[in-house]
Symmetry: C2
Amino acid sequence: MGFLTRIPDDSPFTLVNIPFGIFSTKDDSTPRPATAIGDFAVDLRALSKAGFFSDKSVIDALSQQTLNAFAALPAKTRTVAREEIISAAKDGKIPESSLYKLADVKMHLPVNVPDYTDFFCSLEHCQNCAPMMKAPIAENFFHAPSAYNGRASSVIPSPSIVRRPRGVFWTTAADGSREPTYGAEQHLDYELEMGTIVSMPVPYGETIKVDDAPDHIFGFVLLNDWSSRDLQVFEMPPLGPFNSKSFGTTISPWVITLDALKAFQTAPKHTTKRLEHLTYKDFAHGTHDIKLAVHLERDGKRHKIASSNLKYLYWTPYQQVTHHASANCGLRTGDLMGTGTLSGDGTDENGKKLELGCLFEATQHATQPIVLEGGGKLGYLEDNDVIILSAWCEDESGRKVLGFGDCKGKIVAPDAPLD
Amino acid sequence: MGFLTRIPDDSPFTLVNIPFGIFSTKDDSTPRPATAIGDFAVDLRALSKAGFFSDKSVIDALSQQTLNAFAALPAKTRTVAREEIISAAKDGKIPESSLYKLADVKMHLPVNVPDYTDFFCSLEHCQNCAPMMKAPIAENFFHAPSAYNGRASSVIPSPSIVRRPRGVFWTTAADGSREPTYGAEQHLDYELEMGTIVSMPVPYGETIKVDDAPDHIFGFVLLNDWSSRDLQVFEMPPLGPFNSKSFGTTISPWVITLDALKAFQTAPKHTTKRLEHLTYKDFAHGTHDIKLAVHLERDGKRHKIASSNLKYLYWTPYQQVTHHASANCGLRTGDLMGTGTLSGDGTDENGKKLELGCLFEATQHATQPIVLEGGGKLGYLEDNDVIILSAWCEDESGRKVLGFGDCKGKIVAPDAPLD
């Protein structure tokens, strides 16, 4: 059985997962495709060269330095390739020479991201933010997925180091009026999101049906939409977020495929009637039951600070992809779509809200800081704070069946080194 | 002297221009670099193979299918290459075999565009729009360049065919309330802009000084930011433009370099005090005097419908680039930045405003349509309307010294063919 007997019980990378990523190693700095099983990265380029895959297009795709070519293959071809990996692993045929300890490898972005978009689709997130913004939820929220174009250049893989950005924000002048200042962000936040990665492209000028949306999705990653609240308040009206969201977007490096997630399909939490082009027939399988958690590491201690679930979204990833393509922009393989902050309305035994996907919500803009176990308070992020997003799927007994691996990032001072 | 004796007097592509583009021909469909002189595209890959360039890095760059590698070369290297082309042309040494009639070639995007950003930096445009939007100009406008991330997948080269998009917008219900509808856009607009193309990249996590901004600019193109006003009204709050701006962004295919534009440097029109990081020393050369015009072609007739100038911008391209990089997002070679709609306050002899860079302004949202010579009215764009943006620089006597070539696009029905 080889290394498979060594898959730890708590590993996210079980044999029903088989995620795809891009890695490099000390002995070979060329980025190349891999999967993860247990504590190991499995070099798929090596497996491919050794004849593990039957399809010529798979062999070609696995010789590339990103997963774009692989993601662009027909879904059925990818499914077969994944099954070939699972079979080889189960049969103990994966050679030890293709294995690298995950702790020793460097992970890269899984795909070249041609365009990055960030949605805003959690009703609970909107409801929590609206009173603080002193503005009602925009009426459009309820009729189509809200989104803005993000910045692809600042999408980076976990684990990442993110410099506290500088920018223009409002400060209070001596006479009480507000004045613009250029300086380091003082209210630095994370946002708990997932990211959808596009597989089959949609040509410019074409649209898709919501029932066909899964055909255009390679899989999901975790996504931390780091946010500068001072810059955001300054720049939002009227064009939306810009520099406040483009100093770093950390994604988990392993793409969890729709194949792996098929067993965890479920109905969305919100069942309101939608416009016809956003209404899909198979509502019961309209999204996925993916559990989420956020941890803070500060001073060497780890604190759980939030939890959530993908299924809470008011607009699911399938509806997001469909709406995105609905006005002819075209989608390209590797396009990344953030789901938007994933909040819910779950509470603990004392009625305290737990499912708050950013600190703006969870601390009410630092007016009600989170009290950390062992002392200390969390308002916004301090330099050297580390945020870790995690996600997993459970079976009916509550056992973790597969996971996404960490999406981890550390905030550093504006001029601190990036490596 | 060869073909140079045949440069027509009204050609935009004079010997002081030497723009860069990517073209293909009937006999060779491989996209490759070119310049334009008079009525001809000059195959730069062919010149390069024939030994016209002294620098190895130029030869490598001109063998590529986009101009990204060429744009990424040091500014001095590009300057020398341009001078080598000019010398060869003046000396009559450019072989006829490298010449193709412009009318016969196909132009492609000059660069692969990693990220596209659109600014909103014309004070006059804001002033004209604000009363119609029933909202004051956002205070942030005066302290930093306003912008939103655009969609790179829908940036297309002139001449382009653009389908009227469908999307969600508000209509009036029987009881007078507004209700969301999915359908074809009814208020389709153009926007007169220029586009800045990035040369030397800025690494993720780094920033630049405004005085160094020219080092990061390869050159300029014309840019038509086609806009769906119905979709825009629906989706703007609170995240800004999204699908309303991503059904097509047409750019002129020839990049006019900073070298060519050096003689047309000028001080910006607006001289208000700025935050220090956006204030540059050489204010007198802070922007360029580039004249702009917009024509409509309808039913075979051509109508001039607007004029403007790059120098009117409240925030210049140098300030835009600097602000963009100021929060660590990184800039990549080929990044495209739209200047935002270029309006002014010029009037004709009757006091009628001329410098209105979109139909929303020029027709007051179609309530005051433009009366076309020979009959007909222009409110918003109809199917088969063609919009042509043009730009040029003049010497002191008012003679056109160089031009940008057309940025041309035609609107077609939602399901009309794209070729």
